[in-house]
Each structure stands twice: as structure tokens, then as C-alpha cells.
């Protein structure tokens, strides 16, 4: 018989703490709000950046989204995930800023990568190098993270934002569709294309050894 000790389960404990914090802030203890949102500040920023691309605009939108979340905290219902609710507010804020034209959006190079601009058309992978699993330790290297961020930044807006919400923020398909105000089918189509485009973009790096721990084979030296 397996006993689950909820007290020792960090995930359950943090979930309980989060519910307590939400209730306290809703009850008027505004000084606890930063503690409540602090675990999500990176995700909020990433969501804003996916839509606005410009770092300064993304930071400003992320801050404003936090303030709006506070202003609407009483509307939050426990059946929703707080993180998802917060991300949705951030996406709304970023989309609104983009619509207002406060941000000059440099559209991506989707056409160059896909060869076709229409998202309904199919995307054919270009590279068929023999990929192996990339160890997650590769992400310890700033250079690798930088390469990944650059590849993501080259994607067209509509693919990038779906990809970020789904694969970076870990929203599900339905939540992504609701956050962006598009259909589930569109989310799936854009997500597929984003993943395949990124795969092609990163293939060059794979072949050049970006992701390997050492830039040369074990036992050999580059000099």
C-alpha cells in the first residue's frame, strides 16, 4: 500500500500555498501579490515577448499584465489554473499593444522557410539528418540558449505565439486557442508548422555540433 504524504509533496505544498496566497490577496492583502506572481514572471515575460518581439515592449507589457491581474484578482475562480489565467491576461495585453500599433512588428521569415506563405498549405521538412536525442545539459550553455532564441525569433508572428504558448508556456491546445482567439484547428496547424520550421532551422546547428557537450570528438584535440 502506497501512502501519499501530501505534506512532503512539493507540488501539492506549492499548490496549497498558491491557493492561500490567492485568497489572501483577494481578501485585501495586496502586499502578498508579488509573492503570488513571482514564480510566473519568466513565463509572463516569455509570453509577451512571443507577441511583441521587442524586449522593452515585452517587459512593459509583462508588468502591465501583472497590474491588470491584480486589478482583476477577485474575478479569478479557483477552477482555473492561476498560471494559465495570468498568461491569458498577458497575451491579451500584448495583443492589444500590437493592435494599437505601439510596437513595430518585424514580421518573420515564414515565407522563406516554408516556401509558401499560406498556413493551410503543407510544410515539407527539408533536412533529414540523423538526429539523436539532444541532452538537456546542452541548455546549460548560454550559446545554445541564444541560438534557440534566435531561431524562434525568426518565425512569423502567428507561428511563434502559438509555439510559445503551447511548447514554452505549456498551455494545452484549447487554452492556447482561447488565449489567442483562434480555432483549435488553427492552433494545431500553426503548431505543426512552427515545430517543423524550428527543426529545420536547428538542423544546421545539429550538424555543426552546437548541442554536443564538446565541439570536438572525445580523445581528439582541435589543435
Amino acid at each position: 500500500m502506497v501512502l501519499t504524504d501530501s505534506v512532503n509533496d512539493p507540488e501539492q505544498a506549492s499548490g496549497k500555498r498558491e491557493r492561500e496566497l490567492i485568497a489572501s490577496v483577494q481578501g485585501g492583502q495586496r502586499e502578498l501579490f508579488y509573492e503570488l506572481v513571482r514564480p510566473y514572471e519568466r513565463r509572463v515575460y516569455a509570453a509577451a515577448l512571443a507577441i511583441l518581439r521587442n524586449q522593452e515592449d515585452a517587459e512593459d507589457a509583462a508588468q502591465e499584465a501583472m497590474l491588470k491581474a491584480f486589478a482583476n484578482i477577485r474575478k479569478f475562480r479557483a477552477e482555473a489554473r492561476f498560471s494559465t489565467w495570468l498568461i491569458q491576461i498577458t497575451v491579451n495585453e500584448a495583443l492589444m499593444r500590437r493592435r494599437r500599433g505601439r510596437t513595430v512588428v518585424m514580421e518573420g521569415i515564414d515565407n522563406r522557410h516554408s516556401g509558401r506563405g499560406n498556413e493551410e498549405s503543407e510544410y515539407a521538412p527539408r533536412d533529414f539528418a540523423d538526429w539523436r536525442e539532444i541532452p538537456s545539459e546542452a541548455l546549460e550553455r548560454k550559446e545554445v540558449r541564444q541560438r534557440l532564441a534566435e531561431a524562434l525569433a525568426t518565425l512569423d508572428q502567428k507561428y511563434r505565439q502559438v509555439f510559445v504558448l503551447r511548447d514554452v508556456e505549456h498551455l494545452n491546445i484549447q487554452e492556447t486557442a482561447e488565449a489567442l482567439g483562434i480555432s483549435v484547428a488553427s492552433v494545431k496547424t500553426r503548431l505543426l508548422r512552427a515545430r517543423l520550421m524550428l527543426r529545420d532551422l536547428l538542423a544546421a546547428g545539429w550538424e555543426q555540433g552546437w548541442f554536443s557537450r564538446l565541439p570536438f570528438e572525445k580523445g581528439t584535440k582541435p589543435w
Binding site: G28, R30, F33, Y34, R38, E41, R42, R43, Y45, A46, Q55, E59, A62, Q63, M66, L67, F70, E122, Y123, A124, P125, D127, F128, A129, D130, W131, R132, E133, I134, S136, A138, L139, E140, R145, L148, A149, L152, F163, D167, V168, H170, I173, K188, L191, L192, R195, L196, L198, R199, L202, A203, W206
Partner: protein, 230 residues
Amino acid sequence: MGAGLVQPVAIREGDQAMVISCEQVWREISNYIDGELDATLRSAMEEHFQGCKRCASVLAGTQNVVKLYGDERMLEVPAGFSQRLEKRLEERLTPAVARKARPWSSWSAWLVPAAAMVLIAAAVLLMNSLTFRNFVKSQHAEPGNHVPPDLVVVVSDGSKLFHAPGCPFIHDKASERTMTAKEATREGYAPCTRCLRQYLKTGLSRGSGAESAIAEADDEREEVLDVAGH
């Protein structure tokens, strides 16, 4: 790129199992990774990956993409982001909430009036102390703390000292007033170091304050002598 690769559609031709093309695999590969396919299609894709290196490569690469970008370490924020966020929250939330809050609904809302009360109380205490403490008219003189409080002394206008009655160094005899040493001290007069020297012995030993009082008394004495024509 094509050398050594299996053409999956050709391999599967004639089989009873569901056969799908590479294009179909690419179209569904994202749903495959997300586990959103029905069992039949999923099984067909797995069969396909077994025999098609190209599609197996596409799958491996796409799975890498999902895994790498899904890692927490990819969520980088600019330097100082957290501090700026916290500062903005403090700046914007505190006054906004204070304005909207019901009057005195929170304990912190009492801080301002409480601080005002403390300031008022401090001001009253200061006023009291200015009024009743041994305020010395001469900035140099020692207060007459050692003079018996009930001792009858004489003060006069234009002088900063109090004297024993009959002291030759009383400054303006026409304006003499008699009172107790305690009252004189309260009004800020310091003891004359000549006629009340006996009470200031201990004060002398305390240093410059008493010495200054002596100097001041000497100055007054010289003035008195001048007026008297000496």
C-alpha cells in the same frame, strides 16, 4: 540524402495494415507527439517510423525541439527584470489601493494619523520643556541647580543673573524683584558667582559652563562699576 533511405510507401504496398505516406506522417507528426491520434493512426505511424529513416529523423528532430524549448532554462528574462517588476508593483499598487480602500479598513491606513498624533504629542512635550525647563538666559551660564530652591534671591531687568539680596553686583537696582531661587532658575536666571559662590563650588569643578558664568558675572560687575562711576 536519399541514399540508403527506405521508401515507406513502397515497402508497405500490399500489406493489410494501414499504410501512410511520408507526407501524411509529416502532417500528423505534431499530433503524434502530443498524443492526440487515435490508436489506428498512431500504430500506422509507428510502423512507418520503423522503416523510414527520413521520417524517423523528422520525428527525432521535432521531439528535440519540443523538449529543448519546453525546458525552464529557456525562460530567460533581461537583467534586473525582477527588481523593476517589484518596484513597479509597489509604486502602482500602493497608492491605487489606498485611494480605493474603505476608510481605515486596513491597519496600515492608521499609520498616517498615528504618526500625526505622535508628532503633535512630541510638539506639546517640546513646548512644555521650553516653557518649564531651566532655560538659562545666558548661553554661557550654569543653571543654579545647586542653590537652595527656597533661597530668597534678587533679579533685575537687563541682567542674566540672580543675586543674594544686597549683592553689590546687582545690575539695575531700580528694577529689582525678589523671588525664590527656584523661581529665578525657572525664569532662566543663573546664580551670581560672586554672592552665591558658595553654592557653585561643585559647579566649578564641572568645567567650562560654570567658568563661563563667572566670566559673565565679571563682565556684569565691570558694567556696574562703570555705571557707578568707578
